[in-house]
């Protein structure tokens, strides 16, 4: 069979022939599906659900934390601070490189790179770039204190119990 060469293509003209239109459309379709496939892989590797610690949890009744207590819950990575009838939760994840800071006499100190924070989590020394965040604390209907690590609040905002 003799192949018919379209004169428009042969001359390299810009005329939109049926063949050219179909080639473009199928080309877009094929390359598009390839790009979407690669892109979907990128979305795939970012997990939607995580299996680790939940970010919202209750830590027990206020009575469990006497006034003046600074209790570091290392597994939860928060420090519960109680001052009179005021209660707050300060992160114990070092803002420098994610180590767990320990409660010291002057506030917090990090074993990894020597960052130091004061009682309210403000940086007093070392390489930490910013203060330890405070998390929202609320009183659940069952009377337990609930900490929400997804919501950061301004330092100095205590919950009155």
């Amino acid at each position: 069979m003799k192949t018919q060469v379209n004169p428009a293509i042969e001359e390299g003209g810009d005329a939109l022939t049926r063949r050219r239109l179909l080639s473009w459309l199928s080309g877009f379709g094929l390359f598009g599906s390839l790009i979407v496939t690669v892109f979907s892989n990128l979305i795939f590797i970012k997990p939607r659900a995580t299996y680790g610690q939940p970010n919202r949890f209750s830590i027990g009744k206020p009575e469990e934390f006497p006034s003046g207590a600074r209790v570091s819950l290392d597994a939860r990575r928060v420090c519960i601070v109680r001052d009179g009838d005021k209660i707050a939760a300060i992160s114990t994840t070092c803002t420098h490189l994610g180590c767990i800071v320990s409660v010291s006499e002057t506030g917090f100190s990090c074993p990894c790179h020597g960052s130091r924070y004061d009682q309210d989590g403000n940086v007093t020394g070392g390489p930490a770039p910013r203060a330890l965040p405070w998390y929202q604390v609320s009183l659940a209907p069952n009377g337990e204190i609930e900490v929400d690590k997804d919501t950061e609040i301004e330092a100095g905002n205590y919950l009155r119990v």
Partner: protein, 442 residues
């Protein structure tokens, strides 16, 4: 049929071993140049090499064999790594127990783990030294610029491979090194937090991170590394072999006068008219065919005297010796030193100080001054500068010699970079104690 001599069937049986041997190995041990050449290119493993190699490339004092050692260490890592996979489970509840099993019950388990661990450390060090060799001999100059870039990428993949493997024993050392290491990544602007989350599969180092690092370590990164190594090797040949000083390419005094060394792409022929004119008349009846295009001033036409030798046996013996020495070295170290294994992971108590793997301790030391600049800004600049080295330094003088006078400034800058990083690593390793405070190791 009367004049046709039939061979008795038992004769083919007698010849069976030889026939099988011949079908696998096409050439007997070569005794002529033709045999040496065909041995090289009729064997799958040998044909990756050139048939002839320049004498200068075989000088141990020039290359120190560092590229070969890197490759052989990678080979050892692949073999021991696959063996270790038979016993390893990437689970936070089982991984550490499997480490103890390797030590206690698995035959040669501890030995294989030692080999894997020390080869990994060795590979990081040797790949870095290889980079130093290439820089200090000016070997990244044209036409080898892109192979230098590949080499820098190979160094990065090597570091990442070593880093992902570091987590797998799931002991305190592993857990906190990775916690510190991935936090450094999160300081990258814009994508840092996302990158850390995707790398760990969670907000903290845990089961997801262990699984992800395992997949990266045993599948993704080795595949990338193998591909890059293949291109790296291929480019060595396409760029005209290892670098050497210009005078090494000068023709010996007795070379034919009409011979041209071509600039630019040259057609390489099976046999050239130049050589044929000087050779026996029988060669003149040959047909010439285009065999390929080769760039650069390395194209040589005809069988004229030069400073190259046959790869068989010169190059292959050298490679074999380097391989045997590398294996022997790893075996020896593995016999006397056990790979470290600390207590199982305790998420609540970071060791004090918590240190990254030694090759990242320079980074960690920098990070202790400034998180962004030490962990991201300076390292990214260093990598970028390394990648751009062959495009910044365009002078072609001083290639193929160690510490060439013409390259005084470049070598000085590079050595400054090396020494600063080594000093930072030494400080981070030996002079930092609890709370990252300065301590004296004595």
């Amino acid at each position: 049929m009367s004049n046709h001599t039939t061979t008795p069937p038992w004769k083919s049986l007698v010849a069976l071993p030889e026939n099988i041997w011949r079908s696998i190995f096409r050439n007997p041990l070569p005794s002529s140049d033709l045999g040496r050449a065909s041995t090289s290119f009729t064997n799958f493993f040998l044909h990756l090499h050139p048939v002839k190699v320049h004498r200068h490339s075989l000088k141990a004092a020039y290359t120190l064999g560092l590229g070969l050692i890197s490759f052989f260490l990678f080979f050892i890592l692949v073999v021991t790594g696959i063996l270790l996979m038979f016993y390893y489970v990437p689970s936070t509840t089982q991984a550490y127990d499997r480490m103890l099993d390797l030590r206690g019950t698995v035959a040669f388990g501890i030995f294989l783990r030692n080999m894997h661990r020390w080869s990994a450390h060795g590979m990081v060090a040797v790949v870095f030294l290889h980079m130093c060799r290439v820089f200090l001999t000016g070997s990244y100059k044209p036409p080898r610029e892109f192979n230098w870039v590949l080499g820098v990428l190979l160094l990065l993949v090597t570091l990442f491979l070593s880093f992902t493997g570091y987590l797998l024993p799931w002991d305190q050392l592993a857990f906190w090194a990775i916690t510190v290491g991935t936090s450094i990544a999160s300081y990258a602007p814009l994508v840092g937090k996302q990158m850390k989350f995707i790398l760990l599969g969670d907000s903290n180092v845990g089961q997801e991170a262990l699984l992800r690092f395992y997949v990266l370590h045993v599948a993704v990164l080795p595949a990338i590394l193998s591909l890059l190594v293949a291109i790296h090797f291929w480019r060595i040949r396409k760029d005209g072999g290892l670098s050497r000083p210009e005078e090494e390419d000068a023709l010996p005094a007795d070379a034919p006068a009409q011979l041209e060394v071509m600039q630019g792409p040259a057609v390489v022929m099976a046999t050239s008219p130049v050589a044929a004119a000087a050779a026996e008349p029988v060669l003149q009846k040959r047909h010439y065919g285009i065999q390929g295009l080769v760039r650069g001033p390395f194209t040589k036409i005809g069988n004229v005297p030069d400073r190259s030798v046959f790869a068989w046996p010169n190059l292959f013996m050298a490679e074999l010796v380097v391989f045997l020495i590398t294996v022997a070295g790893v075996l020896l170290v593995s016999l006397f030193f056990n790979a470290p294994l600390e207590e199982p992971v305790n998420v609540m108590h970071p060791p004090n100080p918590a240190k990254a793997p030694w090759y990242f301790l320079g980074l960690q030391e920098q990070v202790s001054y400034s998180a962004f600049w030490g962990g991201v800004g300076i390292p990214a600049t260093e990598v970028l500068l390394l990648l751009l080295v062959p495009y910044i330094d365009r002078k072609v003088a001083g290639v193929g010699r160690w510490f060439a006078r013409e390259r005084l400034l470049a070598n000085f800058l590079f050595l400054t970079f090396v020494i600063v990083n080594v000093v930072l690593i030494i400080i981070g390793t030996f002079f930092r104690g609890p709370n990252w405070e300065f301590v004296s190791p004595w």
